[in-house]
């Protein structure tokens, strides 16, 4: 498999040196110190590690480095979106560990569908776990950001 020598992350090209099978999550967190993206399960079940690849949400814990080569990667550090303010206004977090993944997933939805219905939000977000149970507030934050779009 071809080596990957650089990634395009949040609009910047960054050199990388890792085996092409390395999970993108590991490259982001442990090679590039972009720790806003979180580890939660390692099997794509919790959404804490969600990043955008060319605007599409993916679970970076099960995405190998080679799959991200040549694509535009957006992590929470590269997100500047009204949804972040909406999270603060709605108090949509407790411990905050799921928040990065929630916001990246939510932004992916709003970029594709600026006025999602309640059911569309639930369906889109159902792969993200908030163990503290702030789900209703996260829904309210996404609805608020959508209404301001």
């Amino acid at each position: 498999m071809a080596r990957v020598t650089e990634l395009s992350i949040n609009g910047t090209r960054l050199p990388v040196e890792a085996d092409p099978d390395t999970p993108l999550l590991t490259v982001l967190r442990d090679h590039l110190d972009l720790t806003g993206t979180k580890y939660g399960c390692g099997e794509g079940q919790c959404g804490a590690c969600t990043v955008l690849l060319d605007g599409q949400p993916v679970r970076s814990c099960i995405t190998p480095l080679h799959a991200a080569a040549g694509k535009k990667i957006t992590t929470i550090e590269g997100i500047h979106h009204p949804l972040q303010d909406a999270f603060l206004e709605e108090g949509a977090m407790q411990c905050g560990y799921c928040t990065s993944g929630m916001i990246v997933s939510g932004v992916a939805l709003l970029e594709k569908n600026p006025q999602p219905s309640h059911d569309e939000i639930v369906h889109h977000m159902n792969g993200n776990i908030c163990r503290c149970g702030t789900y209703l507030r996260i829904l309210a934050a996404i609805e608020k950001a959508a209404s301001h779009a």
Binding site: C41, Q45, M93, G133
Partner: protein, 686 residues
């Protein structure tokens, strides 16, 4: 009452297990004990806070708690840890309210054993009732000191001075900032123990540092980095009681392998290299035949191994049953469940000149410091534990295994080591909320008076075992038993199991007596605060309308709770449609954060009620992944309405736990109302 050092409730399960590891002690470490190394401390007197033991009172020196910087920033120290309950905010509110300054000018230093006074741990919902008043007393003492300083500065009468917006202002209009008054010097005052504190102002302050979380900037323990840091992994046995018979560990460049007794771990330059090094280890384990599996066998085992327990008896059960027109008898069970904090246990350990510093996500930094000291045979004075605001815990992060493992690897590698448990490790090697069996027999008269109540809890714990029903003949007994799994604290712990059994059984007895469940409850409850939440919840819910409705009520950790639920059934699946919960925890500190805790508790409670259970056999956890252990998700969450019953005239109780106890029984009773089927086991399945 002086604010003595906190004690957990007598019936609370605290982790009995001692440190998992005790490593051979290096002779040089013993010699080092005599050295008394230098620790970084916040101020000389902060040391008063270090080394405090359970039997000792909290330090009274203001310097241990509070410092005012040159720029007027107020630094407040507390040993409590932020794990999502938003106490960084509520404690900052307490200080800012006393000092009449913006919350933004309060810097809370939390859970750092070198900087903060000793604290037993962040559990038992004790922060709001015990730590907030302590911080209020410290801040009030600082306020009085600042007013004295200003009076002296202007050579004026103190009565002419007021404090607002972080400044002291004189009647003639001149004002002076806190920093200008103290010039960064220590405030030498003693905090009066007995001083009454003001009640909270009931303000919905926003989460402190909230923006760091929505931008990914906050550094959890698992995000920490130190120069030269390596990544650790630990080789886990195939079963809980397995011991290491043989290990073949090929050497690899740049990899540190530690093998000491049953501990085997590696440290390498990045996580991939560590995982690869781990895969090269060839271990043979010896395992005892496992004793018990989950399911019916577990509950039999708990009954079989139960101790007689000490019952709390009033009147005579026999007489009460003889006096009854109707009787009920039933057995309830609760499964082991996992905390599953989204941030698994993580620790970064660094040794410098025989001093150990560990950044880790824990609710009990001082306990973890103790464990580290014991594990390495060094004085606690040489160990510093720092807890960055942590990715949740729910009672699951009391102990320091991960910190000890990281420190062992770092010691061998001679470099800092970060260890982040995998999700499978978190599900397997932490500890669980106890499983339990509860047997209840009871009797009532046709008019709804409960005459007898005999309640036996096997293994799941004694918290909230006594309800608030007025029953003349009653006995409640907690029977400790042999737990096949390592068990410990959990949000709401046994109060969830005891409320589940009690409130479902009350419904059963009401049904047997031919009475409507709300009327039946009110007939047997005198406590005015419990009646008030029951009335508040049922009124908001519109009790009595519609099908599939159920309710529960109760009391735990000085909080009063009533929950109403409406359910539907979709094939074999129970769908909770709507929940109304009324809660009285005394004076409300921060209504929005309180609602957040209640909504979160109800959402988390859905898991234990409907899906969550640890399956195990042969000493192994069978479902140690989120793909196998179902937790609540967006699509599971009902409409939730919270009714806050504010009592500004009463002290504030903690609120992170009690709101979790009402959901399961309300749902069970609602399912009965809809289907006629009694569900007596958690998780409930139709």
């Amino acid at each position: 009452m002086p604010e003595a050092v906190e004690r957990p409730e007598a019936e609370r399960y605290e982790m009995a297990a001692r440190p998992t590891y005790r490593f051979a002690v290096d002779r040089r470490d013993f010699l080092g004990l005599l050295g008394g190394g230098l620790l970084i401390v916040f101020s000389a007197n902060a040391q008063e806070g270090r080394g405090f033991r359970r039997s000792e009172a909290l330090p009274q020196d203001l310097n241990a708690w509070l410092h005012i910087g040159n720029d007027g920033t107020v630094t407040v120290c507390t040993g409590k840890a932020e794990v999502g309950q938003n106490i960084r905010t509520s404690l900052s509110q307490a200080a800012s309210e006393e000092l009449h300054c913006p919350i933004a000018s309060i810097q809370l230093v939390m859970a750092d054993t070198a900087l903060t006074p000793y604290d037993m741990g962040t559990f038992g919902s004790r922060t709001t009732p015990a730590m907030a008043p302590q911080i209020r007393r410290a801040a009030a003492t600082a306020r009085e000191t600042l007013l004295d300083l200003a009076a002296e500065h202007w050579k004026t009468d103190r009565a002419k001075l007021t404090m607002a917006d972080g400044k002291v202002t004189c009647q003639d209009g001149k004002s002076i900032g806190f920093g200008e008054l103290t010039k960064g010097q220590r405030l030498s005052r003693t905090i009066p123990r007995e001083e009454a504190v003001a009640r909270p102002q009931c303000q919905s302050a926003a989460k402190v540092a909230g923006r760091e979380f929505v931008t990914g900037q906050h550094k959890y323990a698992s995000d920490m980095h130190r120069p030269g840091m390596l990544y650790g992994r630990v080789l886990r046995p195939p079963a809980f009681d397995a011991t290491l018979a043989n290990l073949n560990a090929p050497s690899a460049p740049g990899v540190t392998v530690v093998h000491e007794k049953d501990f085997v771990g590696v440290a390498a330059r990045d996580p991939q290299a560590a995982a690869h090094a781990l895969s090269l280890l060839k271990a043979e384990w010896k395992s005892e035949p496992a004793r018990v599996s989950s399911g019916a066998e577990l509950y039999k085992h708990l009954k079989k191994t139960a101790a007689p327990g000490e019952g709390n008896l009033h009147g005579s059960i026999e007489a009460g049953l003889a006096d009854a027109d109707v009787k009920a008898q039933a057995t309830y069970t609760v499964a082991y469940i996992a905390h599953a904090p989204l941030e698994p246990r993580a620790a970064l350990a660094e040794w410098t000149d025989g001093q150990l510093t560990v950044w880790t996500g824990t609710q009990c930094p001082f306990r973890v410091r103790e464990e580290l000291g014991e594990a390495f045979g060094i004085s606690q004075e040489r160990v510093r534990v720092i807890v960055p605001d942590t990715g949740s815990a729910y009672g699951g992060k009391h102990s320091g295994e991960c910190a000890v493992e990281a420190a062992r690897l770092a010691k061998a590698a001679g470099r800092p080591v970060k260890l982040v448990w995998t999700r499978e490790e978190e599900f397997t090697w932490a500890y669980f909320r106890p499983a339990g069996v509860i047997e209840v027999s009871s009797g009532a008269r046709h008019d709804g008076t409960i005459t007898a109540w005999d309640f036996h809890n096997y293994n799941s714990g004694g918290s909230a075992i006594d309800g608030l029903y007025d029953i003349p003949n009653r006995r409640t007994t907690f029977h400790p038993a042999d737990s096949p799994l390592r068990q410990g604290s959990y949000r709401g712990l046994a109060a969830t199991a005891n409320h589940f059994a009690r409130e479902v059984h009350i419904d059963e007895l009401a049904h047997a007596a031919g009475m409507e469940p709300l009327a039946f409850r009110l007939k047997n409850i005198k406590d005015p605060r419990l009646r008030a939440v029951v009335e508040a919840a049922t009124e908001r819910f519109g009790w009595g309308q519609g099908s599939g409705i159920g309710m529960s009520c109760g009391f735990e950790k000085n909080g009063y709770i009533a929950t109403c639920a409406q359910v539907g059934v979709d094939g074999s699946r129970i769908r909770v449609r709507r929940v109304v919960e009324a809660f009285d925890c005394g004076a409300v500190v921060n209504p929005d954060h309180l609602k957040n805790q209640i909504q979160g508790s109800i959402s988390m409670a859905l898991g234990g009620a409907l899906f969550e259970q640890i399956r195990f056999s042969d000493g192994r956890i069978e479902n140690a992944r989120f793909s196998q252990y179902r937790v609540p998700r967006f699509a599971d969450i009902p409409q939730i309405e919270v009714v806050l019953v504010d009592r500004p005239d009463l002290p504030s109780a903690g609120a992170g736990e009690t709101p979790i106890v009402g959901l399961a029984p309300a749902v069970s009773n609602a399912v009965f109302h809809l289907t006629g089927k009694r569900l007596r086991s958690l998780p409930m399945q139709l």
